[in-house]
């Protein structure tokens, strides 16, 4: 019985070994962090401010927001550049 289950384990191992090892590598790495914890906290806060506050509320892509097609965007830029040149 033991021999059978061991064989089964060996058959599955090549498929699972790498993802499991990579997962454990990162898990253990994060667990053993010291300074890294505060750095990760800083990175997450920073990314949250950048993407959830700045990007969402203050930094829209103006042309994508105001025009639906590339043709309309090209036309808007053309008009803007021609208006500036007057």
């Amino acid at each position: 019985m033991d021999k059978k289950s061991n064989t089964g384990g060996l058959h599955r191992r090549p498929l699972l070994a790498w993802p499991v090892r990579v997962y454990r590598f990162y898990r253990d790495g994060f667990r053993e962090m010291t300074v890294g914890r505060s750095l990760w906290a800083l990175i997450l806060i920073k990314l949250a401010i950048l993407f959830l506050v700045f990007k969402l509320f203050f930094f829209p892509d103006v042309l994508s927001r105001d025009y639906d097609t590339d043709e309309a965007r090209a036309d808007a830029v053309r008009q803007s550049l021609l208006d500036d040149s007057r």
Partner: protein, 522 residues
């Protein structure tokens, strides 16, 4: 118009703020990753536990800087879409392609191997770990490569053709873009200056250890690696800077004239080593350019063309159409007044194209497109009302350039002196003044590095794309208030991040100085 100028000015200040903050972190990442890789290579070859401890200490400081600096550059990309939408659309895939490659290839490569660097001790083989450390350093430089290619294109637009239907510049020669001499020199100059900066950082921190009379051997060993990398960095930065100067003389001669405060050029032109500009001087009067100056004879001619007797055009010469060829010869080309006229023809052609497009007149569209193509070289000049508008801010460009050069010269002496003391006069390193100079050089190298970017970016004004698009035409139709709000928000967030970095780094340096590394055996 006032509102438009405010939008342009605030957008420029915002971009400058974010770019300069971003550049506080980047060069240290570029340089210290190489220093850490060299330290780990020594550990790999010697199996010395002491070198392992040295590697881990500097790797930690690298990690702190990387973590705080990561993603600060993303804000610049936000600004392109919001503040500079005309520019973002106009440059199309030429700017987008290098940035996309940067994001996909270099950044992910760098991030993956950083995980191995920090989590991989005792979990992967020493060889694999060392490979990951080197690949992190290479990945950091590759990230910079693509950004700098995009920036170099703005200074020297090549490898594209303008399509009036799409209103975009379409890339038609990827290799012209990537292998442009401006891009190559800019990449080398920026990355190698990072080695210099990191070399100073390692020496400065090590001097703190010596100042506190702790971990002397640890500090000296670290300083040796830092000094050699910094010395190589400053020599190669000078060499690549020489290449950049020749490029600037050829493709952005007005920037070179502003860098030197040169209004009227001559053969065998001297270079200003130190100078105080006369604030009353303009192109419209005959005032002297300088209140006081110390010059090096033939210096600018040699810098610009490698021929000490060559003619170097000044601002007035350039406005009148006198420039240098690729071979360094003087030629008479289009004056700025003629360029403005040609640029306005290009605008008229674009206007005719627009009308023909709306009328559905294919024949007129083709004729207008052809007219536009013939005059496109000076498209940006069509926005100027006077040739004098093509002059960059002379004082800021001049002082930024000269501070960079003077500090660069000081850094060369600094590394030579440090190497001499490290190998010949070790006891001098115990001198408090030497240690204080080592620490005080840290802010100097950062100022030097930032001044390099101020020279490059202010010196190319009024252009966002040299000769093709002035900065004021690149702006979006948005309100000044929005930019003012985000400007101060960025200033607050970035200052907080910088304070956090300095605090965390000082804490870890202090911890490092208190750890007894001297007990670790070879």
């Amino acid at each position: 118009m006032d509102d438009l100028m405010n939008v342009v000015d605030w957008s420029r200040w915002q971009f400058a703020l974010t770019a300069m903050y971003h550049w506080l972190f980047v060069p240290l990442t570029l340089g210290i990753s190489v220093i850490v890789a060299i330290m780990e290579t020594i550990y790999y070859r010697t199996k010395s536990e002491r070198w392992l401890a040295i590697t881990k200490f500097w790797m930690l400081l690298f990690g702190i800087n990387f973590a705080i600096g990561v993603a600060t550059g993303i804000i610049l990309e936000f600004e392109f879409g919001t503040n500079w939408s005309n520019y973002s659309w106009f440059v199309g895939d030429i700017f987008g392609a290098p940035l996309a490659i940067e994001g996909l290839l270099a950044f992910f490569m760098e991030s993956t191997f950083i995980a191995v660097m920090f989590f991989g001790w005792k979990k992967v083989s020493r060889g694999f770990h060392l490979t990951a450390t080197w690949l992190t350093a290479i990945g950091a430089s590759l990230s910079a490569l693509w950004i700098l290619i995009a920036n170099a294109w703005m200074q020297y637009p090549v490898g594209m053709e303008f399509d009036p239907a799409q209103m975009r510049n379409v890339m038609d020669d990827f290799f012209a873009l990537v292998l442009s001499p401006v891009a190559i020199h800019k990449f080398l100059h920026a990355v190698l200056s990072g080695w210099t900066l990191a070399g100073v950082f390692v020496i400065g921190v090590s001097c703190w250890f010596l100042f506190k009379k702790r971990n002397r051997r640890f500090a000296i060993d670290s300083m040796k690696v830092g000094a050699w990398v910094g010395f190589a960095g400053i020599l190669l930065t000078l060499w690549s800077g020489d290449g950049s100067a020749v490029d600037v003389a050829r493709v952005q001669p007005m920037k070179l004239a502003a860098m030197e405060g040169l209004y009227d050029g001559k053969c065998g032109q001297e270079i200003v080593a130190v100078g105080l500009l006369n604030p009353k001087k303009t192109v419209l009067n005959d005032e002297d350019e300088f209140i006081a100056k110390i010059t090096i004879p033939y210096g600018l001619s040699f810098l610009a063309t490698h021929n000490p007797h060559a003619f170097v055009p000044g601002i007035n010469d350039l406005i009148n159409g006198i420039e240098l060829t690729e071979a360094g010869d003087t030629i008479r080309t289009d004056s700025y007044a003629e360029r403005i006229a040609i640029g306005k023809k290009a605008h008229m052609a674009l206007r005719a194209y627009d009308k023909a497009s709306k009328d559905g007149n294919a024949e007129a569209m083709a004729a207008a497109a052809s007219q536009l193509k013939a005059n496109y070289k000076y498209f940006g000049y069509g926005y100027l009302d006077s040739p004098y508008e093509a002059i960059p801010p002379v004082a800021m460009t001049f002082y930024a350039f000269h501070i960079m050069v003077l500090f660069g010269g000081y850094l060369l002496l600094f590394f030579v002196a440090m190497l001499w003391m490290l190998y010949r006069k070790n006891e001098w390193l115990e001198n408090r003044w030497v240690q204080l100079i080592g620490m005080a050089t840290i802010p100097i190298v950062w100022i030097c590095s930032e001044c390099g970017w101020v020279t490059a970016e202010v010196g190319r004004q009024p252009w966002i794309i040299e000769g093709i698009m002035p900065t004021r035409a690149a702006i979006s139709d948005i309100s000044t208030v929005t930019i003012q709000v985000t400007f101060w928000m960025f200033a607050a967030v970035f200052t907080a991040l910088l304070a956090a970095e300095i605090c965390i780094m000082l804490r870890e340096i202090s911890k490092g100085s208190k750890t007894d590394y001297e007990r670790i055996k070879d």
